[in-house]
């Protein structure tokens, strides 16, 4: 049984309970016991943790992570990926099913969960596939995946190109009220593109992926969600067009949520210049107008969640011809530092940030986390919003260091996580 903990001198931010102020927090038997005015709670033998003025928030949840196990253990394992998550301040991650084999069955889900139980440094919530093998043809056994522990379904990495298949998946998902998590990309428009289509792709002589490749599918999936009444969650939004479509859909009452990633509110397609494979991901980095729209979307709540799409790849794979490099960058260990910049820059308030990184993802995956309510499991993240630090990919806990943010100076970092009342 974990020790009781008394966290003193912290600044509690718990958006789910509208708490934002200096309180002490008592954790007992792995659960949140109570909040009290500073100095008012007796420790009664609890371990005392002095938060020294830092932010004390519900454990952060990254709902879009690629843990690569089973099948691609040379890029990342559940052990190293969750270690990276913990180092980045996350107490939970959702792992995408594009492993090898694809997580479209109870056996793969159970394998992931058992590895996580043995070696995980953070909670792992698997996301199951929408279709068998993520081939986009036949529905996977959603009921089995749900019962085995999957918190949503996605064919991430690929779109479900056939609209009828996506429609059926959405209708079927209603049995379990499970989120249908969509990677919005029209494969025929994206074709063999490797970066955003525009002036930079013309100059570099690289095939471009137009905005429309994403927007066309965002629009389609929103309309299908409207038709079916399913819960749609849109992955890694990167374009102004998608932000606009999602905003309008929400105004109409469509059950849609959406996430974006730190790189889409921080970098533009110019990061690719020099054929920088560390800036190659799908969807690609876009223009300054798109970045502005993403930031506005986070601010006005159109974009509900910040997730990383943590996509580890070996250094060899990312070295060489730009065309040949796989898409994706890691993100768990830079997410808080990059996202807290939005607060420093006045785009979000701190409670809004914590909502986007904890309370809202918890609600979407129905994990029960994301709050510091009395009786809730004690998953806690402590953040120092002012510490200045330099990103060093060589020291990442992740097996892979494929990031465009290496050597960036950031201000703000998670310094501790507590999972189930255990430090």
């Amino acid at each position: 049984m974990p020790m009781n903990i008394l966290i003193k001198n912290g600044h509690i931010i718990d958006p789910a309970n509208k708490v934002d102020g200096k309180f002490d927090l008592l954790v007992a038997e792995g659960k949140i016991a109570k909040l009290g005015k500073p100095g008012s709670l007796p420790s009664n033998g609890a371990q005392v943790l002095d938060a020294g003025g830092k932010l004390v928030v519900p454990g952060l949840i990254d709902m879009h992570v690629h843990l690569r196990e089973p099948g691609y253990e040379y890029k990342e394992t559940i052990a190293t990926g969750t270690a990276a998550a913990k180092a980045g301040g996350f107490t939970a991650v959702c792992c995408m099913p594009n492993t090898s084999p694809v997580n479209d069955s109870r056996s793969v889900t159970e394998f992931i969960l058992s590895q996580a139980a043995k070696e995980g440094a953070a909670r792992v919530y698997p996301i199951g596939a929408i279709t068998k093998g993520s081939k986009g043809e036949e529905l996977a056994e959603m009921g089995e995946l749900h019962d085995a522990g999957c918190v949503g379904v996605s064919d991430d990495g690929r779109p479900v190109m056939n609209a009828a298949v996506m429609r059926r998946a959405m209708e079927y998902s209603k049995i379990f009220d499970t989120a249908v998590i969509s990677h919005c990309e029209d494969a025929s428009l994206a074709a063999k593109g490797v970066m955003n289509e525009g002036f930079v792709s013309t100059e570099l002589g690289l095939r471009g992926i137009p905005d429309a490749a994403e927007d066309v599918m965002t629009g389609r999936d929103i309309l299908l969600a409207e038709l079916t009444g399913a819960r749609l969650h849109i992955c890694h939004v990167s374009t102004a067009g998608s932000v606009r479509l999602i905003r309008e859909a929400k105004q109409r009452g469509v059950k849609v949520t959406a996430e974006t990633c730190p790189h889409y509110f921080t970098l533009t397609e110019d990061a690719v210049r020099g054929y920088n494979t560390m800036a190659k991901m799908n969807p690609p980095l876009r223009t300054a107008e798109d970045v502005a729209a993403i930031r506005q979307g986070l601010k006005d709540g159109t974009l509900d969640v910040i997730a990383t799409d943590h996509a580890p790849h070996a250094l060899d794979e990312k070295s060489g011809e730009f065309d040949a490099a796989p898409f994706g960058i890691v993100g768990l260990e830079t997410s808080v530092g990059l996202s807290i910049k939005l607060v420093h820059e006045g785009v979000l308030t701190m409670p809004q940030l914590i909502e986007r990184m904890s309370a809202t993802p918890a609600r979407i995956i129905k994990s029960g986390g994301g709050t510091l309510s009395a009786g809730a499991v004690a998953d806690i993240t402590i953040i120092d919003p002012n510490v200045e630090w330099t990103v060093n990919a060589g020291e990442f806990k992740s097996k892979s260091g494929n990031t465009p943010f290496d050597r960036w100076k950031l201000k703000g970092r998670a310094v501790q996580t507590i999972m189930g009342g255990k430090i």
Binding site: G205, G320, D323
Partner: protein
């Protein structure tokens, strides 16, 4: 005066006086190819490697002759017969070659950015012989040399580039070079084959070929890659030739005697009519000038300090 950089990766960012210097140097080397003994000792003892990941007759032979006429030791590696078929990476291949102490490596590759990738990691001078859709600097240099030779200048000249601009490294390098040297550049092709933002590179976009070539001093026809049809970029060769092909009638309507150019190889009857190619073009002059320009580039990358003759 040598070139300011170790490598020649592209025309983008090159200063006008550097381009002029290369063209002037090429003039002196052109004479060498006219002699009975087509040899100068300029690069004697230097090792030049042609590392071609894409098939090429013209460019590779041109570089090979340029190197040999400068007395360098030239080796050709075509990757279909090399360890690349065994899966060796680009960097491993290049580093292995450099370990044999090469001085200049000439790279042609299907992927944009491949020569740049190598240039940052190798001590040898890297010459880009064409990378994906990105740049083909020696082609643009020989094109500018040819225009300057035939028209006496580059400044104030109007050049129309016609064809698949989207996939053309020749078009991009020429746009950079010609605009730097004060020429006006027009590009023309089906909208499906004109890349976004090309106007920002300094070229004016036309979709009507007669308008594009009206009053032009030089017309540069690009090769149509026939597999683009299966990719749905244009409906067929017949319509393409009618709308964007340079035939005698269209050339006569141009309004002045423009020089007709093509980087080769030509699809006769598609982008250019045989009659125009054979009787009214400077295509073969371009090829001759190519050797001279490549000699100049290799000379200048090697320090340019030795006497030319």
């Amino acid at each position: 005066m040598a070139l300011s950089t170790k490598d020649l990766l592209g025309i983008k960012g090159m200063a006008a006086d550097e381009i002029k210097h290369i063209l002037d140097t090429a003039s002196t080397f052109k004479d060498v190819s006219e002699r009975d003994i087509k040899k100068v000792p300029t690069l004697r003892g230097k090792t030049v490697i042609n590392l071609f990941y894409e098939a090429s007759t013209r460019t590779r032979t041109s570089f090979e002759l340029a190197g040999k006429r400068l007395s360098a030791d030239v080796i050709n590696i075509s990757t279909s017969t090399s360890s690349v078929t065994k899966g060796e990476t680009l960097l491993d291949t290049a580093q292995n070659i450099e370990a044999m102490k090469s001085d200049i490596i000439i790279v042609r590759h299907a992927c944009s950015g491949a020569p740049e990738f190598l240039a940052h990691r190798l001590k040898s001078s890297v010459i880009n012989a064409g990378d994906g859709s990105h740049e083909h600097p020696t082609q643009a240099l020989l094109d500018m040399f040819t225009i300057r030779e035939k028209l006496g200048r580059l400044d104030g000249v109007t050049v129309a580039i016609v064809g698949d601009i989207l996939h053309s490294r020749v078009a991009r390098s020429n746009i950079y070079g010609l605009t730097t040297m004060g020429a006006t550049v027009r590009v023309c092709g089906p909208p499906t084959m004109v890349p976004p933002g090309i106007e920002k590179m300094g070229a004016k976009v036309y979709s009507d070929m007669d308008e594009a070539v009206q009053g032009a001093d030089a017309i540069m026809m690009l090769r149509l890659q026939l597999e683009r049809q299966t990719a749905g970029l244009f409906p067929g060769v017949r319509e393409y030739a009618r709308l964007f092909g340079l035939n005698r009638a269209r050339l006569d309507r141009v309004g002045k005697s423009a020089i007709v150019m093509h980087p080769g190889p030509m699809n006769r009857g598609v982008e250019i009519a045989s009659d125009v190619a054979d009787n009214s073009s400077v295509i073969l002059d371009q090829v001759t000038n190519g050797v001279a320009v490549r000699m100049a580039v290799m000379f200048l990358l090697s320090g340019g300090a030795k006497a030319e003759a």
